[in-house]
Symmetry: C2
Subunit: 226 residues, 2 copies
Amino acid sequence: MTDHLIIVAGGTGSRMGTDLPKQFLEINHKPILVHTLERFYSFDSSLNIIVVLHPDFVDYWIDLKRTLQLDIPHQVVAGGKERFFSVQNGLNAIQAETGVVGIHDAVRPLVSKRTFETSYHQARINGNAIPVLPLNDSLRTVEDGQNKIADRSKFRLVQTPQCFEISLLRKAFEQAYHPTFTDDASVVEALGVHLNLVEGNRENIKITTPEDLQMAQAYFTLTKEI
Amino acid sequence: MTDHLIIVAGGTGSRMGTDLPKQFLEINHKPILVHTLERFYSFDSSLNIIVVLHPDFVDYWIDLKRTLQLDIPHQVVAGGKERFFSVQNGLNAIQAETGVVGIHDAVRPLVSKRTFETSYHQARINGNAIPVLPLNDSLRTVEDGQNKIADRSKFRLVQTPQCFEISLLRKAFEQAYHPTFTDDASVVEALGVHLNLVEGNRENIKITTPEDLQMAQAYFTLTKEI
């Protein structure tokens, strides 16, 4: 049975018009989005891959992948105003009635094979799987100018790919959009479905700041040397 | 005015007797604790440094630093059963009545000069400063087998060095130990003092797992190349 992967790359750059969106920044002379695609393709070359991009960057990507002679088959879909609508558009591009759909942040090129396999496998068995990690750091809550300690043992950091059996995901994305839908798990959770947490991998960071980019760069450099 | 630094390296290894505690694991042929010491010493060579170690590893460290011919002046103090008692012992080794005391995890060798300067500077002005970062990842709460989304914008990841004016810190550590004292900030918070949050740095990770060690290794390798 073919499984599916929606890679969400909705960013438009932090300083509109001047900066490239993070998914197109380069690590070792290759855009982050290409690293992410190559990684999943190496895990399972039969994946049905959909890349969702901000409408302003669809042509940019089509040109770029031609220039790079990228030979990983995938559909390109224009995203919406919120992540919810981007995933919805990606989901609409899938024709199949069966299989697991993983939804992955384009800017997480360091997902491990173990995280990939565990997430898809558990979603196949239990309907869904969300990769998470415990916190190494202490945690504080901040609200109204006050802050206080929180019990970090009661929290998990959430990664991607978040994986769902396709019929469950379709049902979830038929709901009307709500501002509390901050990630894909929260959309499925709104159906009242229990989410299955599985173990992610620490280096699967979301590249958000220049410091994150440098961390990822370092990791790629090292793993290439090993 | 001389400032102070208590480096807490209380670990005894995850599999007692077989593994070395994390602070003695090597990155580029040098123990993590040495990286941490060298970094702070390069920031401010006048710091009054106290290294707190588990009693079982005091002699090990004294031998090791002799072998490595480490020439960074510091006192070595035996720790207690909980972090609270280790910091208390470190604090008792400081004679001075003035200055800021930073308390730092030995296994955070990647603290930046900016984090160091901001934390000490703010503590000098406001009595205390805690370096924190917003979360890149979504956050879920887990309790009694259930999990649900949390609003990550209301949380901060807490790093070290946590910095305090010495008289405030002494007052805090005169309190009786309480199990909710999970980090140094929480001890000072118990006095009813407002904690000042300052910006940490993303690569200032706490090396807790083999994956963290590999991330830190990668970062050191890259920054050496640059």
